[in-house]
């Protein structure tokens, strides 16, 4: 058997040049990249219509039901490892003196997996996705409200929420629910810089992907009050995300925006 393997491996090496093989093995996160490539292969650029889907879309929709829970579980587990040697950039307050390769790997893994989640979520059936989001929010609120809440778990759950927002599959009520859940995490800094930074990332993603949700007159005023009130409570590590969030909101303002709101911006 060893001989067969060696001969077939050398056959592969004959088919690909060493340079090509090296390029192939340098791919990041083999399986997640593959999943993202598969979804990109059937993406026509205009989103997916699951009701009148082609056979390819239907096949991937079924696969998403199996794979998404596994990927979700992976992100929740990996955050614990990442936290053991936390080296997230700019987390000055809590970062240990030395960065660890293990945590770096874990953070890279989480990033690759969340990209795959965002890609697959676009194909998942609405009902399944609603259930997944409901469970996610339930766990997030439970962790936030619990006195002995695990901050790493909150970070993991926020990362998953961010992945779902990125995929633009959530309806307005879900986005509104998520916004209300992250608001207290942004407003105060009691949960630590990592949680606040994650919460800001979710808000930034909401502002970017669901601009019409934020652009609603009353909500825009609410977001402005929220962001202007956090000048003093924002941790150093969250400031970049806060500014990014403000930038997206300001970019979305046009001449029709209420002068009152514009004056609020001017107050910053």
């Amino acid at each position: 058997l060893d001989g067969v393997v060696t001969s077939q491996t050398s056959l592969l090496q004959d088919c690909f040049t060493t340079r090509q093989l090296n390029a192939l093995v340098r791919q990041q996160s083999v399986i997640c990249n593959g999943i993202a490539n598969l979804v990109a292969s059937i993406d026509t650029g205009g989103g997916f219509e699951l009701e009148n889907a082609s056979a390819d879309v239907a096949a991937l929709t079924k696969a998403s039901v199996v794979l998404l829970p596994i990927l979700f579980k992976f992100v929740t587990d990996a955050h614990g490892v990442a936290a053991s040697g936390n080296n997230e950039s700019m987390d000055v307050e809590e970062a240990p003196a030395k960065s660890s390769d293990v945590s770096m790997e874990s953070l890279q893994k989480v990033q690759c997996v969340t990209e795959a989640i965002s890609a697959l979520a676009r194909l998942a059936p609405d009902e399944f996705l609603r259930g997944l989001f409901k469970k996610l929010m339930h766990r997030l609120l439970e962790e936030i409200q619990s006195e002995a809440g695990d901050k790493e778990k909150v970070c993991a759950l926020l990362t998953l929420s961010q992945a779902l927002v990125t995929s633009r599959v959530l309806d307005e009520s879900s986005v509104s629910f998520l916004y209300r859940a992250v608001k207290p995490l942004i407003r105060n800094d009691e949960d630590g810089p990592r949680v606040q930074k994650r919460a800001y990332k979710v808000l930034t993603e909401i502002c970017e992907r669901y601009h019409s949700f934020v652009a609603d007159k009353d909500r825009l005023q609410e977001v402005i009050v929220l962001l202007s009130g956090t000048v003093t409570t924002s941790q150093v590590s969250s400031r970049h995300m806060r500014l990014k969030c403000l930038n997206i909101i300001v970019d979305g303002l046009d001449s029709s925006s209420s002068p009152q709101l514009v004056s609020l911006y001017a107050g910053w």
Binding site: Q27, T44, A55, L60, V66
Partner: protein, 95 residues
């Protein structure tokens, strides 16, 4: 976009080929890694990862998503959960 892709790729890859040929080879390497000495184990393990690393290329506009993905999903799920090969999820800077 699909049409544009197929003009770039006159012979689209087949996931079935990856599933039957490449993965069966990877399974053989995995068996050898389990049975071999420490040095062989490492070599065979690396072969498994190198063979799996072909997967993203087979996923670029494959011709047989409809027929292969339903049977391949379980394998993907098992590979994602396989604790022996975390490299399939980590950035692998091999070579």
């Amino acid at each position: 976009m699909k049409a544009a892709a197929s003009t770039v790729q006159p012979n689209p890859p087949r996931l079935a080929f990856f599933q039957t040929m490449v993965l069966s080879l990877a399974r053989s390497c995995d068996k050898l890694a389990a049975a071999g000495t420490a040095k062989d184990q490492r070599a065979h393990r690396d072969r498994v990862i190198a063979l799996w690393s072909l997967f993203p290329c087979f996923c670029k506009h494959p011709a047989d998503i409809e027929s292969t993905v339903p049977t391949f999903t379980a394998t993907l799920g098992r590979a994602l959960e396989d604790k022996r090969y975390p490299e399939l999820l980590v950035s692998w800077m091999g070579s």
